[in-house]
Assembly symmetry: C2
């Protein structure tokens, strides 16, 4: 039997393609975290649609609700008093959508769960190129996290974090998704809207550009 | 003005003394995590009592509710179907009270909050000696976590985890607490009960032994 892998699935395009990649090597366990992000309802629908598409059994699904990121604020994704910026691709600044230490939370939940269900891998769809300011989207961060797992879990636990998209461009990710029949039509990327994607936030901008460059029509609806 | 430090306060003896130590160097911000542990109601009371004792302002208090550790189980502290073991001090096995990757969750929440409120330190009352099987109570684990903070947060964020009790014995911790006037009478350690401590679980056993060896009467009530 194939090893079990936990895939972090926000419901966005990158995590959708990451699940498709993980599935070529492993049995899937899918994890979704509701941390008070603006478009959570829509993201959760995307997650459930992806779960159904891949026929993931109920025991291999975990949806976790985390309250503190909304309580502490500090990010436009979780703090209603901050505006979501439109795309600013030339900026060297960390975007206001940065959620402090968020990927560490995601990986931590995945590793805890992985210790209990015996997963060997955790897949996360981090991409360095389109989030140059995010410290937790760089290879050095994942190397440090894998060292932490090694010293911080039971001696019998062997879990490794994999980042198959980290050095890919968004355009390459679209192409990989198409070639693996990833359910891109079920994914959701917009940071602002929940019915039709806004097309102008940082996340929409990158997605549309990637589909355009890949020569593929984005199957989701835009305003 | 002194630097701000976040102290992880479960409400137990070790975290109570850790807060007393942190207070000699820093302004206090206190963090409590409800992760579905059996005695949460009692621990939260201890936390609130310690907050009041040190007059910590409302903005410097965070109580976070985390659902996934109870959902995934795998520990006698969070899984109602597992019994809490009595003390087994000679065992080399990891006790059933081990909660998978729990300290990583605590530190992750603290660092996220610390990035927002500008804390410079995170104090955690981990003790290696009385939890020989817990991987996340060893110095190597904290070194790895500090490296993760360094690569995983904003370049302007400088937060360091401190473990002032890691190499102390429980007896030394009682003595330190007394000398710093830590509110040990407000702390709670029992893993089983919420009114009067059981005196026989692993945590009670270690606490009673420590007070006895320190020649101090434990101020809390036992059955």
């Amino acid at each position: 039997m194939k090893d079990l892998a936990i895939v972090l699935v926000s419901g966005g395009m990158d995590s959708c393609v990451t699940a498709a990649i993980a599935r070529t090597q492993c049995r899937l366990a899918l994890l979704h975290v509701n941390y008070g992000q603006r478009t959570e309802t829509r993201e959760l629908k995307a997650f459930r649609d992806i779960v159904a598409y891949y026929h993931v059994p109920e025991n291999n699904i975990l949806i976790s609700h985390i309250d503190y990121l909304r309580k502490i604020g500090g990010s436009s994704l979780t703090d209603a008093s901050m505006d979501v910026q439109d795309a600013q691709l030339d900026s060297k600044e960390i975007p206001t959508s940065y959620v402090p230490f968020r990927n560490t939370l995601f990986l931590t939940i995945a590793v805890s769960w992985g210790e209990v269900i015996g997963a060997k891998k955790v897949f996360i769809g981090a991409v360095e190129q389109d989030s140059p300011g995010y410290p937790d989207c760089k290879p050095a961060y994942y190397e440090a996290f894998n060292k932490l797992i090694n010293v911080g879990t039971k001696p019998t636990t062997i879990i490794e974090v994999e980042t198959p998209l980290i050095s890919k461009s968004k355009t390459e990710i679209v192409k990989m998704g198409v070639s693996l029949s990833a359910p891109l039509h079920l994914s959701w990327s917009c940071y602002k809207n929940m019915d039709k994607a806004c097309g102008v936030c940082h996340s929409c901008f990158l997605r549309l550009k990637a589909f355009s460059e890949a020569g593929v029509k984005d199957p989701i609806a835009y305003v």
